[in-house]
């Protein structure tokens, strides 16, 4: 990628896309929506973090994780543990038999704070944990699996099992985790009330800010050599390996990156929603996150943001007006996206709107196509020699 000066970059097509998203999230939505709806948009955006991570590891590198909810949850739980400790000051919990520990521990006859809760008294530790814990787990999983060349479907199913394990564990160990109810009744962040309208507004803008930070990181990775290797790996893993690259290391890296994004999203989710519970970790939640990414366009990080926004907005809208129809619509959406628009909204945009733009603005074919990375992979090529249906996701474009 040619490096452009920032000004020129914003005038380029890709720059305009980002500008449009900034305008939408920073100006249009806050002006149009009331505080209640804006808070909901904030919640949707926390899922966009996960979706961006999935674009990187599934869309680009071909690693489909059905356990992103795990990382989302770990980030969210880290934040929730900090907030819960703050809400459980000895004064606030004076009626408990052991004041100063979270209420659910007291109900479960715990008389002291478990060791792994202790560090969460510190905000700086919490901030590190929000990214660090998901990344650590992602590293362990990734290291164990990718160095043994587990990929594709196996990886998806194992991550799904991990999501199931974590859910059962959290629900079962309610004295330590709050069980199925989760960690609830979170009030303040370092003395700052997170429940008022004003603070919800602030949290929204913080989320938007962090989201653009993640977009920036993702874009950086995607536009460097690293990003190209990921794409190449997806298409022809063996050839990349034969070219001397350590494929496993790249996969571990991108998986950890996705986990970090998900962790940040989870932490913001806890702040915005005000609690964290195992239902955001499980299989259903994790698969829904994949669909946000698939709808937006699995190859486009911007598409992922729109995908998360649209699916969730549709979910809220539909379930308010036609609760019975919502699962049908959602199901049809899954099938439709996969069958008809494998590249999601971004693919549609690239195929139909972009040519129109070109004609309208008489642009020459721009050299920047990053918003939706052109399809560089050809499944047919590999089918001929070593096509392996188990370990490979192929490029979605058929025609």
């Amino acid at each position: 990628m040619k490096s452009l000066s920032p000004l020129k970059w914003f005038a380029s097509r890709e720059g305009l896309y980002y500008l449009a998203l900034v305008l939408l999230l920073v100006a249009v939505l806050p002006l149009v929506l009331g505080p209640f709806r804006l808070n909901m948009v904030g919640k949707y955006l926390t899922y966009a973090f996960v979706a961006i991570g999935l674009v990187m590891c599934w869309g680009k590198a071909g690693i489909l994780s059905l356990g992103q909810g795990v990382f989302f949850g770990l980030g969210g739980y880290s934040m929730a543990m900090f907030l819960k400790l703050e809400a459980s000051s000895p004064e606030a919990t004076a009626i408990q038999s052991t004041p100063g520990i979270p209420d659910f521990m007291d109900w479960n006859q715990r008389t002291e704070l478990p060791w792994f809760w202790e560090p969460f008294n510190s905000f700086s530790f919490t901030v590190i944990a929000i990214v660090g814990v998901p990344v650590l787990l992602a590293f362990i999983i990734g290291f164990a699996m990718f160095t043994r060349r587990v990929g594709g479907v196996y990886f998806a199913i194992i991550t799904q099992a991990i999501a199931a394990i974590l859910t059962i564990l959290i629900i079962g160990q309610q004295g330590y985790t709050g069980g199925v109810n989760g960690i609830t009744d979170l009030q303040t962040l370092m003395g700052w009330d997170i429940r008022s309208d004003a603070s919800k507004n602030t949290l929204y803008f913080v989320t938007v800010g962090l989201l653009f930070l993640c977009l920036f990181v993702a874009r950086m990775v995607q536009n460097r050599k690293l990003g190209r290797i990921l794409v190449a790996m997806n298409a022809q893993e063996t050839r990349v390996r034969f070219s001397g690259y350590d494929v496993a290391a790249f996969k571990i890296f991108v998986f950890c990156l996705a986990a970090a994004f998900a962790g940040i999203g989870g932490a913001m989710f806890t702040l915005i929603v005000g609690f964290m519970s195992p239902s955001f970790i499980g299989i259903v939640a994790s698969i829904e996150m994949v669909i946000f990414c698939a709808l937006g366009g699995r190859l486009s990080i911007l598409g992922a943001v729109y995908g998360a926004l649209l699916v969730n907005a549709a979910k809220s809208g539909f379930s308010e007006t036609f609760p019975e129809l919502w699962p049908f619509a959602m199901g049809a959406l899954f099938i439709g996206v996969v069958l008809a628009f494998p590249n999601g909204l971004a693919g549609l945009y690239q195929n139909y709107v972009m040519p129109l733009e070109d004609r309208l603005f008489k642009r020459s074919k721009p050299e920047l196509k990053t918003a939706a990375e052109p399809v560089a992979t050809r499944p047919s090529a590999e089918k001929a020699d070593n096509y392996d249906p188990m370990t490979n996701t192929c490029s979605p474009e058929k025609s």
Binding site: W107, Q109, V180, N181, T184, V273, S277, S319, P323, W326
Partner: protein, 422 residues
């Protein structure tokens, strides 16, 4: 509601069905508890906090899951709440105002519950919310409802350990169900040993904790305690353990789909509950659940709850008839459905006693509010916002109904933070 108003409504509805007559009697009984006020007080007077109250209507919210995994359980509550609202409207409404409701779907998803309760309180300004079923959904709603000072009427029997100024708990808290149940088993069935079994989440665990303490206080033994993940369907191992330990009583708080598997497999393993060897005492299987399990699979088990559809009293007969008329003859009514039905009536009584829809004024008058026409007989609101109610033991019959075999003499006092049981 004032004297003159009651007579007026009595005149207009007096020629209706017996059902309506009874509603009139109800209105009269509520009236007894209230001081006389103007017929239809002005809106500015009864609503100083900007709730959705007009001169003719008042809007409330219903918030349950009608989609997702919890829909199975929550639909009965929605039906009961709508029925109560319809009946209240037919009897003249609340403070002369017809009740309108906004229904939202919690979609079995806890943030959705929080979100929708916020919508109900902020956008719709509802005067009351009838809703939530699982503890998790209630815990999600709780901060919202406390923040915006709403009032939730929560129907499910639950684990206790909570007492919010913004919630009225119309179901039983754990001690009400458990203590009476165990005492009954010990006194009338001479039970000595207990096996505690539950689904793995907060309600069964808290319930079993209370049960264990109580059993130990009585000087008796718990020979096993076991939890299975929600949705678990293989119970052969625990059935073997039960056979090995030979407890006198299996105390079961298994919920959802697991119930079906558990009772079918117990039956298949040659356990005939009518033999009462061991006796099975559940706190989770209402008539609703039996529909899915099949009456023949649970015949003979005992349940400890406050309400059974077969309760023999005039209130209940009317209620069951009205419910079947509204939703079809094949409907069954479980404990929670009845508790949900109480919500709107209790709210109405409180509003009329306070002479206002304002949450703060209602809260002050809660303690001592009675509902004499409750299908379960008689309930009274305790100052801790739970209900005084009787606990009954029913034995399941093959037709899916319970036969009431025991009823506590006194109303059980609700005690969400039981001393010595924590």
């Amino acid at each position: 509601m004032g004297t003159t108003d009651t007579t007026a409504s009595g005149r207009s509805f007096g020629k209706g069905l017996g059902f309506r007559k009874s509603l009139m009697t109800l209105a009269a009984s509520v009236m007894l508890a209230t001081s006389a006020q103007a017929a239809t007080p002005g809106t500015a007077e009864v609503n100083t906090t900007g709730l959705a109250v007009t001169d003719d209507t008042v809007t409330v919210g219903i918030l349950h899951s009608i989609t997702g995994t919890m829909a199975i359980s929550e639909i009965g509550s929605v039906q009961a709440e709508k029925l109560a609202i319809k009946q209240i409207n037919a009897s003249g409404g609340v403070l002369g105002r017809q009740i309108e409701f906004v229904q939202e779907d919690g979609a079995s998803d806890w943030p959705t519950f929080a979100e929708k309760s916020r919508k109900l309180l902020r956008q719709d300004n509802v005067a009351a919310i009838f809703g939530a079923w699982t503890s998790a959904s209630r815990k999600a709603i709780l901060p919202v409802i406390e923040q915006y000072n709403g009032m939730l009427y929560y129907p499910t029997f639950y684990e206790g350990l909570e007492q919010s100024p913004n919630v009225v708990y119309t179901g039983q808290e754990a001690t009400q169900q458990i203590l009476a149940g165990i005492d009954w088993a010990v006194e009338t069935k001479a039970a000595k040993t207990f096996y505690l079994l539950g689904s793995d989440y907060i309600w069964p665990r808290t319930s079993n904790k209370i049960a264990r303490k109580h059993i130990n206080k009585l000087g008796l033994n718990v020979v096993g305690e076991e939890y299975y993940p929600l949705g678990h369907t293989q119970f052969n191992s625990v059935i073997n353990k039960i056979k090995l330990k030979k407890p006198d009583v299996i105390f079961a708080s298994v919920v959802g789909g697991s119930n079906v598997a558990f009772y079918k497999q117990m039956k298949a393993a040659g356990v005939d509950f009518t033999d009462e060897k061991p006796l099975l005492l559940t706190i989770s299987v209402t008539e609703d659940e039996i529909r899915g399990i099949g009456g023949e699979n649970v015949e003979g088990i005992y349940a400890s709850m406050k309400y059974f559809q077969s309760l023999d009293n005039p209130n209940n007969k009317e209620f069951v008839a009205a419910f079947k008329e509204a939703y079809g003859d094949d409907m069954v009514i479980g404990d929670v459905t009845q508790a949900a039905y109480l919500g709107p009536w209790l709210w109405k009584a409180a509003v009329e006693k306070a002479g206002s829809f304002d949450i703060d004024k209602i809260r002050e008058v809660f303690a001592g509010i009675e509902f004499t026409r409750a299908p379960e007989g008689y309930v009274r609101i305790h100052e801790n916002h739970h209900l005084w109610s009787k606990t009954r033991i029913g034995q399941a019959q093959s037709d899916g109904q319970y036969k009431v075999v025991y009823e506590t003499e006194e109303l059980m006092e609700p005690d969400p933070f039981p001393e010595g049981y924590q």
